[in-house]
C-alpha cells in the first residue's frame, strides 16, 4: 500500500500539480502588484493576514485546480484500463483512495509550502502571533483537495477532452458569481446572498492586521467542502447509477448544514480579533494606545500624541487620550466614536505613511492628531475625488493650525493633486479666523469640532459662520 502510494505520487499528476501550485501562487504574490504586498496588512508581515491573502488568491488558482483534477480524472478513460480493472479482486474504492491520497498529498504540500514561504517572512518580521491563521489554512487545504477530487469525479463521469477546460471556465464563473454579494460593488452586485457567497473557497483579503475570520465561517466552509470531497470520492468509487445518486448526498447535506451556520454580513464574517486589537498603552499619562498587532507604532505615536493632547487641552471638554481605532471609515463615511479620545485609524490616507516606507516626522504626526481639532474625517474612501474632500481637509487643516499656532499642510500621500486647492482655501480661512477676536476664534473652532464629531454640515462653512447657535 505504501509502495503503491509512492508509485501514484510519482506517476500521477500529484507532485506536478503541487509544484505548479507553489510556482503560480508565489508568482502572483511576488510579481503581481496587489493589496497583499502594499496594503495595511501584507502577506509577509502578519500571520492571519498571510493566510487570508493566500485564501484570497484562490480566486485565480482555484478554477485551475478544478481543471487539473479533471485532467487527472481522465486518466482511466484515456488509458483504457477499465476492462482490466474490472477483473481484479480489490474493491474499486481502495484504488481510488490511494490515488486521491496521492493527489491530496501533492496539492496539500504545494499549498503548505506556499504558506511556509509567507510564514518564514512573517516570523522574521516579529509579528504578533496567534493561531488565527491555522483554521484559515486548514479549510483552504480542504477546499483545494476536495475541489481537485471533484474535478476528477466530473471527468470520470464525463470523460471528454473538453471537460478540463470547461471545468476551469465553470470555476471562474462560480467564483465571480459568489463574489457578487450585496454591497460587493461588482457588476452583478447582490446576485447571491452574503452567506451563499461564503461558500467560495476564495475569501476577502484582510483590510488590516486585526481582521480575522469568524469561527462560523471556518466551520461552515469546512462542512461544505468536506461534503464536496466525500461526494467526489463516492462518485469516483461508485460503480452503479444508484451508487452515484447516493454519492450526491454528502454535498447536499454539507450545503444544507453549512448555509445556516455561515454569517449573513461582512462584519460578522470578518470580525476584529479581540486579542490582536487589545490596546497597548504607553507608560504614564495622558494615555496613548495602539492595538497589540501594531505595538511597534507605539514609540512613534506616543510623543506626538501627547504633544497634540497638550495643545488640545485649551479647548473645553478636550479629549484626554489618543487611541488607535479598529473601526474603519465606511465607504459612505460617518463613524461614531468616544469624543474623549483622539482616534486614529492606521488605514486612513493620513496614516498610510506610518506603516509605509517614508515615516512621518513627529511634527507631522502631531499635526495629523490636531486635524479637525482631534476629530476623524467624516468622508468615506469613495469621496476623495470630491470637492467636499477639499473643503473638509482645508477646514481640518485650519483647526490644526489654530491649535498649533502655525499653518502646516496635513501630512498624507493620497490625493496630492488636491493639495494646492486645499491650501488656497485653507490659508484664506486661516487668515480670516486669525482676524477674529480671540474668544470668537475659540468658539468657531469648538463649533467646528462639534460639527465634525456629529458629521454635520460643511466644516469650512461652520468655521466661517460659527455654525448654528
Amino acid at each position: 500500500m505504501k509502495r503503491i502510494l509512492g508509485i501514484e505520487l510519482r506517476r500521477s499528476s500529484a507532485l506536478v500539480i503541487g509544484l505548479l501550485f507553489v510556482v503560480a501562487s508565489l508568482a502572483m504574490l511576488y510579481l503581481m502588484s496587489g493589496p497583499w504586498q502594499n496594503g495595511s496588512a501584507e502577506w509577509t508581515t502578519e500571520w492571519t493576514a498571510s493566510a487570508m491573502w493566500q485564501r484570497y488568491l484562490l480566486l485565480f488558482s482555484w478554477p485551475f485546480v478544478l481543471g487539473a483534477g479533471a485532467v487527472q480524472g481522465l486518466r482511466d478513460h484515456r488509458s483504457g484500463v477499465g476492462e482490466l480493472m474490472a477483473s481484479v479482486p480489490k474493491p474499486r474504492w481502495h484504488r481510488i483512495a490511494v490515488l486521491c491520497g496521492a493527489v491530496g498529498i501533492g496539492l496539500g504540500s504545494g499549498a503548505l509550502v506556499t504558506f511556509l514561504v509567507g510564514a518564514v517572512q512573517v516570523s522574521f518580521h516579529g509579528a504578533y502571533f496567534s493561531f488565527g491563521w491555522l483554521p484559515i489554512l486548514l479549510v483552504g487545504l480542504l477546499a483545494l483537495v476536495a475541489s481537485f477530487w471533484a474535478g476528477m469525479a466530473v471527468a470520470s463521469l464525463a470523460p471528454y477532452l473538453l471537460t478540463p477546460p470547461l471545468m476551469t471556465a465553470f470555476g471562474f464563473a462560480a467564483v465571480i458569481l459568489l463574489l457578487s454579494t450585496p454591497g460587493s460593488g461588482t457588476v452583478a452586485d447582490g446576485a447571491v446572498p452574503y452567506r451563499v457567497g461564503l461558500l467560495s473557497p476564495a475569501m476577502n483579503g484582510p483590510s488590516d492586521a486585526f481582521t480575522t475570520v469568524a469561527a462560523s465561517v471556518d466551520v461552515g466552509q469546512a462542512v461544505w467542502f468536506a461534503g464536496l470531497g466525500a461526494t467526489a470520492f463516492a462518485l469516483l468509487a461508485a460503480r452503479s447509477v444508484r451508487g452515484r445518486l447516493v454519492a450526491l448526498l454528502p454535498v447536499l447535506v454539507g450545503v444544507a448544514v453549512a448555509l445556516p451556520i455561515l454569517p449573513t454580513d461582512k462584519a460578522t464574517a470578518y470580525p476584529v480579533d479581540a486579542d490582536a486589537a487589545a490596546p497597548v498603552c504607553a507608560e504614564g499619562l495622558p494615555k496613548v494606545c495602539v492595538t497589540t498587532v501594531e505595538q511597534s507604532l507605539l514609540s512613534t505615536v506616543a510623543g506626538p500624541g501627547r504633544a497634540a493632547l497638550a495643545l488640545l487641552a485649551k479647548l473645553p471638554d478636550a479629549p484626554t487620550s489618543v487611541q488607535q481605532t479598529t473601526v474603519h471609515q465606511p465607504q459612505g463615511g460617518g463613524v461614531r466614536y468616544d469624543p474623549s479620545t483622539v482616534p486614529f485609524d492606521s488605514n486612513d490616507y493620513l496614516w498610510k505613511p506610518v506603516s509605509g516606507l517614508t515615516p512621518l516626522t513627529p511634527e507631522e504626526l502631531k499635526t495629523s492628531f490636531l486635524a479637525g481639532a482631534g476629530t476623524r474625517t467624516c468622508l468615506g474612501s469613495r469621496e476623495e475625488w470630491d470637492q467636499r474632500y477639499v473643503r473638509e481637509r482645508a477646514a481640518r487643516t485650519v483647526a490644526a493650525a489654530w491649535l498649533a499656532g502655525q499653518y502646516h499642510p496635513l501630512p498624507g500621500r493620497s490625493a496630492q493633486y488636491a493639495n494646492a486647492d486645499v491650501d488656497r482655501l485653507g490659508l484664506s480661512a486661516w487668515n480670516a479666523l486669525r482676524a477674529l477676536p480671540e474668544p470668537e476664534q475659540l468658539r468657531r473652532v469648538m463649533a467646528l469640532r462639534s460639527a465634525a464629531l456629529r458629521c454635520d454640515g460643511d466644516l469650512l462653512d461652520v468655521l466661517a459662520s460659527g455654525g448654528a447657535r
Binding site: R11, G80, V81, E83, L84, A86, S87, V88, P89, K90
Partner: protein, 272 residues
Amino acid sequence: MTGKEDDMARTVSASEVAPTTYAWEIKAEGLVVKAGRRRAVNGLDLSMGVGVHGLLGPNGAGKTTFIRALATIARPSDGALELFGEDVRRARDLRQVRRRIGYLPQQFGYYRRFTVREFVEYLAWLKEMPKQDVPGAVQRAIERVGLADRADDKMKTLSGGMVRRAGIAQAIVNDPAVLLLDEPTAGLDPAQRMQFRELLHELRADTCVVVSTHLVEDVAAACTDVALIDEGQLVFQGTVADLAAAGTGSDVGDSDTERGYSALLANHRRPV
C-alpha cells in the same frame, strides 16, 4: 537466477496445497452471456482443467465474451458457470475467485507513465497478493516474458509487442490457477511468439490456460487441447490431433489443423 529456482523458493500458501474439491477449473453448462442485446455466448457447454486450451473460432464467435465471463466481468444471463467449483452467478463475493485469475484483455489498457515494474506491481496489489511476495513475483513475471532489461522503462516507451508482453506479465504475476489470454500473440514477432509458446509449455503443468485466438497455427504449436466455438456454441473440443484428423484434403487450409478447422466449422454451419 532462473524462474524455476524462484518457483522453488517462493512461499506456498495454504490454499495452494489444500486438496481441490472440484473436477474442473472451468465448467460451463448451457451458458448464455449477452454482449449488449446479442446472445454472444448462447448455450455453451464446456469444461476445462489444467493444461493449455486453445479457444478457436471465427470473428464474432463469442470468444471474447466467453473470456469476459470467465474473468467475472460479463455476468452470465442464463445457464451455469463454475470457476474452481464455485458458481459464479450465485457467488456473493467474487474476490476469492478473482485472486486466482490472470487476465489479458483483447484491448490491453495501461498507465503510460508507469514503468513496467510499477504497472505489474500495481496489478499485483490489485490482485491482493501477500505483500511480502510482491517484489519477487513481479521480477519473476517480468523475466518470464523477457522484459527484464526494460523493467524500469516507462510503459509509453515500449513497442507494441513489448506492451503485449507486459500485459502477459501482469496476467501471470499472481501465479493464477486460471489464466485468460485474449489474442495474446497479436503484435508479437516470430521470435517473441516462440518465447510465448515456451512460456505456455511451462505453465501447462499446473495452470488452466485459456488462449483465445483466430490463428490456428498458434494453437497447433502450443496447446494441449482445442475448443472450437461458433455462434456462441461449442463446435468441437479435443486434442490438436483430433482437430487435424477432422479435415480432409478437400477442405480449405494450408495445414491439417487448418483443414480440420474449416471442416468442423462448415459442418456446424450446414443447415440440418
